[in-house]
């Protein structure tokens, strides 16, 4: 597998400028001759589709939701980072670069992160020009707040609905191009395979979710922006529809899958309440600007009403353990710290799986109105779900699966190991290393879609003959369609007794217990024993009702769960081989004396890239990482 990242030469600050100058261009009159497929309509996909159409390419965009406006980017709450230094507090492109590399625990690619930090400032300008209503100061300038892993205020926001406002901006740009006839939009359409012809991506096979029709679509290039695979854990903060199918099918067609074990557990989610539960709800990290995290010092106090526990009987453990970053410690660290407190028997709420996030001091300091202005919708959401009023009693929170840093391997041009197949946003692996900092997912999605793919795709297409569009009726497309149909038919034919959800829940439980916040050789080997058994049961006892030539939500779900059941093995294998702790990947065998993650830079300072090998075990390839601008060091937030 060729893992040449094609990182441009020159000093790091010059790399992106050099790369742009060296890129080949497509003449404006020729752009319309190139067909581009974009799968996914979130921040990365929607921005890519709209921007490529603005440039003149012939774009088709696909999403499984009923409208491109529903993509899960919409649920991002807290904000988007940018190195604007509007607050005059010492921020710079270099500092954002540095914080992101360090926050990712030195497992990301320096050149990519540098570029991300550089274009972050353009993102804010572009979104503002499109009418995104960011929060403002009374003087009319943009407001900022802080997020975890940073000591500056560089996060732009729109109350607790930043993702929604950014996505609606992207959606409006996309709809403008649809209205102009420059983008053909396929909603309620799910990508079920990638077709690779003569070593290049040639198109995709999709299922119309309303009619069940399976069709082939050819293009000169295919861009996947299909999000993350957090739902492999069943319970996560992801939308119910989020899945690995598109990237997993690409993997089976030759795209390398990088660092699948890097899955982020977000520290501040509403704790689980029962087995009927279908998802977990995030409480934005921005709340940690004003909320203080604590548990009772004494185990006897855990059942007491929190207001009756005096300050000296509370353990503000993040402030105690990490005095410089305190409640704004990065996500992996805050999550593990919460787990430690609960494992130690000091967790609160049902089952002892919760810690307090308390706004008492902030309300006393700034007044209830100020807190409502900043976080009103989040407080409301919390009250609606739990029936408790967080203005009066502290929130109870617990970590939950939130984001996946792993994804399809891409080079500096965002191209996967399959030429002509590109991957953007959460679906790729490139920028966040082993842990993503808060407010950086929106930044990366928009950076990829607005400011990177429009250049790098042109560079690729300039070398492709526009007249040679693959034939969607050709034998490879027909074979792929037959394969897709065959799989759907097999799912329906099992005709067993157990529901799809029951398998998904069992897989999720297995992954959470054995490949979750803390992993060990033993737990991972156990998971690797169990997953194939569960998969076998699924294929012999799953019950998928209804037909394939009609609207059938069960069939959609079954296909996604079937892919999770295969992909789970790669996640566990990756976690097993990576004999170190880094960022969100915590192997209990590898920890420092104080319980912090212990990296092994001698053996694991690399990206692990899994290559599909048919019936044989997948092959682990390696892209070494070089740190020339940030010194490899043990992360410290103390």
């Amino acid at each position: 597998m060729n893992l040449d990242a094609r990182i441009p030469g020159g000093p790091i600050e010059q790399k992106w400028a050099n790369a742009r100058f060296e890129m080949k261009l497509v003449n404006p009159a020729n752009k319309r001759k190139y067909k581009v497929i974009v799968v996914g309509s979130g921040l990365a996909g929607g921005a890519a589709a709209a921007t490529l159409a603005e440039l003149g390419y012939d774009v088709a965009c696909f999403c499984f939701q009923d409208s491109p406006r529903r993509a899960h980017s919409i649920a991002a709450q807290g904000g988007i980072n940018a190195a604007k230094n509007y607050q005059n507090d010492g921020d710079s492109v270099h500092r954002l670069f540095y914080d992101t590399v360090k926050g990712g625990d030195f497992r990301s690619r320096e050149a990519n992160v540098q570029r991300l930090a550089e274009v972050s400032v353009n993102i804010i300008d572009q979104c503002t020009a499109m009418g995104v209503p960011f929060a403002r100061e009374y003087g009319g300038t943009l407001a900022n707040r802080s997020f975890g892993g940073a000591q500056v205020s560089r996060t732009f926001y729109a109350r607790g609905q930043t993702g929604q406002q950014l996505l609606l901006g992207v959606y409006s740009a996309l709809e403008r191009q649809i209205g102009h006839g420059k983008v053909r939009m396929f909603s309620r359409t799910e990508m079920l395979d990638v077709v690779v012809e003569n070593g290049r991506a040639a198109g995709i096979v999709v299922r119309d979710l309303v009619t069940g029709a399976i069709t082939a679509h050819a293009a000169h290039a295919v861009v996947l922006a299909t999000g993350g695979y957090g739902n492999i854990f069943f319970l996560s903060t992801n939308a119910k529809g989020c899945n690995v199918t598109a990237t997993y099918r690409a993997y089976k067609r030759g795209a390398g899958f990088a660092n699948p074990c890097f899955t982020q557990i977000h520290p501040t989610c509403i704790p689980m309440s029962g087995d009927y539960q279908s998802k977990l709800t995030l409480m934005s990290e921005s709340l940690r600007n004003d909320g203080r995290v604590w548990v009772p010092k004494r185990k006897d106090d855990i059942a007491k009403p929190p207001r009756d526990i005096p300050d000296d009987a509370r353990d503000y453990y993040l402030e105690r353990k990490y005095p410089s970053f305190g409640n704004l410690s990065p996500r992996d660290i805050a999550s593990r710290a919460a787990k430690e407190q609960c494992d130690d028997g000091r967790g609160v709420g049902p089952g002892g799986r919760g810690v307090y996030l308390d706004f008492r001091d902030a309300i006393a300091r700034d007044g209830e109105d100020t807190i409502r202005e900043k976080y009103g919708n989040l407080f409301e959401m919390y009250e609606r779900i739990t029936g408790e009023d967080p203005y009066r009693v502290p929130m109870r929170i617990y970590p939950a699966v939130h984001y996946t840093m792993g994804g399809l391997w891409v080079d500096y041009q965002l191209q996967t190991t399959v030429p002509g197949l590109f991957c953007l946003g959460e679906a790729n692996f490139s920028d966040h290393g082993a842990n993503r900092l808060g407010a950086s997912a929106l930044m990366q999605g928009l950076a990829d879609g607005y400011f990177i793919i429009p250049y790098t795709l042109g560079n690729y297409l300039a070398g492709v003959n526009a007249a040679a569009l693959p034939d969607p009726r050709g034998p490879l497309f027909e074979a792929a369609k037959a394969e897709v149909r065959g799989k759907l038919d097999r799912l329906l034919a099992v005709d067993g007794k157990r529901s799809i959800d029951s398998f998904h829940k069992e897989l999720g439980h297995l992954m959470w217990e054995h490949c979750g916040m803390a992993r060990s050789k033993q737990s991972l080997e156990h998971a690797l024993d169990e997953i194939p058994k569960l998969r076998e049961q699924f294929w012999s006892d799953v019950c998928v009702l209804g037909g394939s030539d009609t609207f059938n939500q069960s069939l959609e779900k079954a296909g996604r769960v079937a892919d999770f059941l295969e992909f789970a093995e790669i996640v566990c294998k990756d976690a097993l081989v990576r004999e170190e702790s880094c960022g969100a990947h915590f192997r209990v065998e590898h920890q420092a004396r104080d319980g912090e993650a212990k990296r092994d830079d001698d053996n694991f300072c690399h990206v692990a890239v899994w290559e599909y090998a048919g019936d044989a075990a997948p092959v682990r390839n390696v892209e070494p990482l070089a740190f020339e601008n940030v010194k490899l060091a043990t992360r410290s937030y103390k």
């Binding site: 921007t51 529903r70 499109m130 009418g131 406002q165």
Partner: protein
């Protein structure tokens, strides 16, 4: 708790539909309304009955994918709440509920409780944007926006496009949806150059999509899960009056509108 549910079942857009009665037992009061339907669907699968189709995705009240008329009220009628955020603690043991899809000419039923809301996308495509190609933006702080105006823009922009306003309206009008988008961009300096053209284009597209006219019932405001104020409709009407003149001038000049 135990409930009796009368749920609309319809095979596809062309088949007739009907209510079917189900009993669902042992529902936790902490569950959301959709989780209650998940429980029912699991029971149906165990009986080899096809589960009930309903749209949903984020389940945290922001994607706008979920819907449902519950006892004749969109999203169940609790103030500023989507169905996915409606919890069973607001119902009583033994309740009997009627669950239907959105009913509107512009939202044809796809199956059971799922409807086709693509008409909303067509209205946005007609003009619900600022023309600002990527790459052409000035520094974000070059254009100041008073906090009050930014806040008003945000409040209108909070619309999730779920369609509750249309379902609530006796005329199946989309005025609150359209006016919310117009109000969002109307309160920002970036939205000014295209303001009147946008108003004309979106209202024209709304009419073409088969939505009814506004007759000032304001059921839309009461049903809106994001509590968008009907004041945005007054703003729309004011701009629309101006826009009809401006639009005519543009057409007479052959200025490429429509």
């Amino acid at each position: 708790m135990n409930l009796t549910l009368h749920i609309w079942r319809q095979n596809d857009a062309t088949s007739p539909g009907a209510f079917k009665t189900y009993r669902v037992e042992d529902v936790s009061t902490h569950a959301s309304f959709l989780e209650m339907l998940d429980v029912l669907n699991e029971q149906l699968i165990a009986r080899r009955e096809e589960p009930i189709a309903f749209d949903h995705d984020c389940r945290e009240g922001i994607c706008g994918m979920c819907s449902l008329m519950i006892d004749g009220r969109p999203h169940g009628g609790r103030h500023a709440t989507t169905t996915c955020q409606l919890h069973m603690r607001f119902f009583k043991d033994g309740d009997e509920l009627w669950i239907e899809p959105w009913r509107a000419a512009a939202f044809p039923v796809i199956k059971d409780l799922c409807v086709d809301r693509s008409a909303f996308d067509r209205v946005i495509a007609a003009g619900g944007f600022v023309t600002a190609n990527c790459g052409s933006a000035p520094d974000a702080n070059d254009v100041l926006v008073a906090k009050e105006e930014a806040d008003r823009a945000f409040e209108a922009a909070a619309c999730i496009g779920c369609g509750a306003c249309v379902a609530a309206c006796p005329n199946g009008s989309a005025m609150l949806f359209v006016a919310a988008k117009l109000s969002h961009l109307r309160h920002l300096p970036q939205g000014q150059p295209e303001r009147l053209h946008r108003t004309h284009a979106m209202v024209t597209a709304m009419d073409a999509a088969g939505f009814g006219n506004c007759s000032n019932h304001y059921e839309c405001e009461a049903a809106c899960p994001k509590a968008i104020s009907r004041d945005v409709i007054a703003e729309l009407n004011r701009d629309y009056a101006k826009a009809t003149f401006v639009h005519r001038e543009r057409v007479e000049r052959g200025d490429g509108v429509g």
